[in-house]
């Protein structure tokens, strides 16, 4: 691909962008949020028509104007934003458009067998007949991967496939990628996780502001160089100071939280100024706990104490009124009002503050607040009146974070706050979390990235199968965390209870 241009109304997404992929190569595409990575790959896969430039396949120029043509040309893509049909089953999703038939009718049994075979090859335990709607994002992501694999393409584009995956799943994915590589498939790999780039890719192409910056071999190039290519400067990667909060007053205490098999007797406390990390494998129940505390889901039993007072929280409104904010893990579904503009999304949780006597909104005040947060979080948007759905994935996430910053809660629960966020922004968010903690806010961070948990947390709570299997001090090792995260019920040793209490 050479000289690719692509403009959206008010946005120049690509300008003379360039990309090259060899057979049997894993080529990482890097860049900050909004750099144009996804757009470039959508041009390649026939979703967008380019404004200028040339695409060559095997040295011959090709015109790819629809996803169908891309498939026929042997190009398949895993989109960054999940593109699943929520009401269909996993197997039905994978083979949409290519259903096996018998006598002209759908052969559902064959369909499920084929899907099961793909899952097996991925070491994935998943019923083919389960509706994707009922799956966690991580599982949905695995379905997307299975779907892309099922095409058996020569070129496979993966746009942030691991954003929702845990380490075990990532390892599995990498095994698959290596296998494909050996078969001569070219893989385009987009990710914001630096360590993965080193682990999996052969070459790295960096983009900035829609333009091509350069291509470097992955093995020889230090991470710092790639990052400075991305952001156009070097990032200071200083360790964060973790002040002692052991004596601060408890801000939030959760006692004996229960709901079915998903949440089983979870108790913990967060102090003011403390960051409590939540680690665990996919489906461990961390999100469920957060949602139950926030009143987004019903709970069966359990008490919630805020600043030493027992509070009744049955709706998110109650929680927000008590000073609790929750940034959900699925921004598209639960975080962003995609039809509203950036300004209103940022103000959404604080509209009451901008409402005058007869219900009239203080538009100027909202604009000021929104612009302040756009600057503070470096949200890449043409203006604060841009529709939120037109932002790149990472920037959408930042908008949701800005919403809770503006609300100014005492207790903040961040569920996968850096999912899909570039390195520069990530370190800014870390700094931000630290500052918030320094201001005395109590913070819970749920993350599937252990380095992130380790870097941020004063203490680390670990969950497994709906139970809180232990709370570790900050600075514990990855092995200690993984031990607790995989402590299934049967294997539970008595001494764990002691740790739990501590």
């Amino acid at each position: 691909m050479t000289g690719i241009d692509k403009n959206f109304p008010g946005v120049r997404a690509l300008s003379q962008a360039r990309f090259e992929l060899l057979p049997g190569e894993v080529h990482a595409l890097m860049g900050e949020n909004g750099a144009g990575k996804s757009t470039l790959m959508k041009v390649l896969s026939g979703v967008y028509a380019r404004d200028a430039g040339e695409v060559k396949l095997d040295g011959r120029p090709v015109e790819i104007t629809s996803p169908r043509q891309a498939q026929d040309a042997g190009i398949s893509i895993i989109h960054q934003e999940l593109a699943l049909m929520r009401d269909l089953t996993a197997a039905q999703n994978i083979f949409i458009g290519r259903e096996p038939r018998r006598f002209g009718l759908l052969d559902e049994a064959q369909l499920n067998r084929d899907a099961a075979a793909i899952f097996a090859s991925m070491n994935l335990r998943l019923e083919p007949t389960v509706p994707v709607e009922s799956l966690t994002i991580a599982k949905q992501q695995m379905v997307e991967i299975a779907k892309a694999l099922s095409y058996r393409s020569r070129v496979l584009i993966m746009d942030e496939p691991t954003a929702a995956l845990n380490d075990a799943e990532i390892a599995e994915l990498f095994a698959i990628i290596n296998r494909l590589k050996a078969e001569g498939v070219g893989v385009v790999y987009i990710s914001h996780k630096m360590d993965e780039i080193k682990r999996i890719s052969d070459r790295v192409t960096v983009m900035r502001d829609g333009e091509y910056v350069g291509t470097v071999p992955a093995a020889e190039t230090p991470i710092e160089t790639i990052i400075s290519m991305m952001v156009g400067r070097t990032l200071s990667n200083q360790a964060l100071t973790i002040p002692n909060t052991a004596n601060a007053p408890v801000a939030l205490e959760v006692k004996h939280l229960n709901r079915g098999r998903e949440i089983r007797d979870v108790s913990f406390a967060v102090r003011q100024g403390e960051i409590l990390g939540f680690a665990g494998l996919m489906g461990a129940g961390r999100t469920e706990v957060a949602r139950a505390i926030f009143g987004a889901d019903r709970r069966e039993s359990g008490e919630i104490w805020v600043h030493g007072q027992r509070v009744g929280i049955s709706t998110p409104r109650d929680a927000v009124a008590k000073g609790i904010g929750y940034l959900s893990e699925d921004r598209k579904l639960f975080g962003l009002a995609t039809g509203l503009d950036v300004r209103n999304n940022i103000a959404l949780a604080s509209l009451d503050r901008f409402t005058g006597p007869i219900g009239v909104l203080d538009e100027a005040g909202m604009e000021k607040a929104a612009k302040e947060h756009i600057r503070q979080l470096a949200i890449k948007t043409p203006s604060d009146t841009q529709e939120a759905r037109l932002l790149s994935g990472g920037n959408q996430q930042k908008v949701v974070i800005a919403k809770w910053l503006l609300r100014d809660c005492d207790i903040l629960i961040f569920d996968e706050p850096t999912r899909g966020i570039d390195v520069g922004a990530k370190s800014e968010i870390y700094k931000l979390l630290n500052n918030l903690a320094a201001q005395g806010k109590a913070i819970i961070v749920i993350s599937s990235e252990l380095p992130e948990i380790l870097r941020l947390s004063h203490r680390i709570a670990v969950m497994c199968e709906g139970r809180l299997t232990g709370i570790l001090p900050g600075g514990s090792s990855q092995e200690e965390i993984m031990h607790l995260a995989t402590m299934r019920e049967a294997a539970m040793a008595p001494d764990v209870e002691v740790r739990h209490a501590g």
């Binding site: 049909m85 458009g97 759908l106 019903r298």
Partner: protein
């Protein structure tokens, strides 16, 4: 919507789904029980047959609407399209004097063609389904009047015609069970639609489109073609409804049909199909249509004053759907 339980299965084959939907009968059953207790005339064979007969036209229209609604669209033209197809049958059989099968074919083809046009306007010109089918509703209404010369076309020269709906094949085979053919046709159409939805590619794409059209497009499927196919299928089914009503009245009444779309859509929604697309069942729609006719019939049998009939109907429709929501939440 994390707090509402997962919906019933949608392919109409899964076991839990089947059990689930059996329970959906409860609203209908409750009505039947109440009316049976209130009036000895309700549970008479003749009355049951009258209810089924009254359901047949609206049921078939509702099935057509179900297909479209599952794609996330809507079809406001079902009522006037039915009439248009009836008029076409009248033209073919009475004005042109052609044999019965050609009249049947004509009606169904008229429905298919109209569906093709709606579908094309929606898929290719990107006109929202509401507008496209509203336009078609008006166009077809006008054309029915134009073609028929604003008067009913009678089928007196086609002796067998009224048998399509009123005759009873079963009755001649099993005396004492005079189920009219119209009712059989309703069930046949229901089976056919359930088959299409559950077993064919068309059905799969119907659900897929309503679930996430963009994702289907990104998967390389020719979205437009399948969407048009769904509207055309719905149109053909409206053609069958046209034959049913024409046969029942032994005439094509050109002014009839407007307002019927709302009742058809109501049956669909009462039956648990979501107007936002992606889920729905033919069985649910049948139950929805039956609830509407049982209510109307029962209230009449009880000699409830007409103005109160509407009040009660409105209330019970809301309650029936609310009960269904409660039941699903519990499950």
């Amino acid at each position: 919507m994390t707090d509402t339980a997962a919906p019933a299965g949608k392919s109409g084959i899964r076991i839990t789904g089947a059990f689930h939907r059996l329970l959906a009968f409860s609203g209908l059953l409750a009505l039947v029980v109440v009316f049976s207790l209130a009036s000895p005339n309700f549970m008479q064979t003749q009355n049951i047959l009258a209810i089924l007969q009254a359901t047949s036209v609206n049921g078939v229209l509702a099935i057509a609407a179900t297909l479209v609604i599952i794609t996330g669209g809507i079809d406001l033209s079902v009522g006037t399209l039915m009439t248009f197809c009836a008029v076409i049958a009248g033209v073919v059989l009475t004005y042109w004097g052609l044999p019965l099968p050609l009249g049947i074919l004509g009606a169904i083809l008229a429905g298919t063609t109209s569906g093709l046009i709606s579908g094309t306007v929606i898929a290719k010109l990107k006109v929202p389904p509401f507008i496209a089918t509203l336009g078609m509703m008006l166009i077809l209404k006008g054309l029915s009047l134009v073609i028929s010369g604003t008067r009913p076309i009678y089928f007196n020269d086609t002796p067998g015609f009224s048998q399509i709906s009123l005759g009873s094949v079963i009755g001649t085979m099993v005396p004492g069970l005079p189920i009219p053919n119209g009712v059989l046709i309703l069930f046949a159409v229901a089976l056919l639609a359930a088959f299409i939805l559950g077993k064919t590619a068309l059905g799969r794409y119907t659900f897929a489109l309503g679930s996430n059209e963009e994702a289907v497009r990104l998967s390389g499927v020719n979205v437009d073609r399948w969407k048009i196919a769904v509207y055309a299928t719905a149109g053909s089914i409206c053609g069958i409804a046209g034959l049913l009503i024409a046969s029942r009245l032994n005439s094509a009444q050109p002014a009839l049909g407007q307002g019927y779309e709302l009742e058809a859509i109501a049956a669909v929604v009462i039956g648990g199909t979501s107007l936002s697309g992606g889920r729905g069942t033919v069985l649910g729609t049948l139950i929805g249509a039956l609830i509407i006719s049982v209510l109307a019939n029962g209230l009449r049998i009880l000699s409830v004053a007409q103005e109160w009939q509407t009040v009660v109907t409105g209330t019970i429709i809301i309650l029936a759907v609310y009960a269904d929501i409660l039941r699903r939440r519990k499950l």
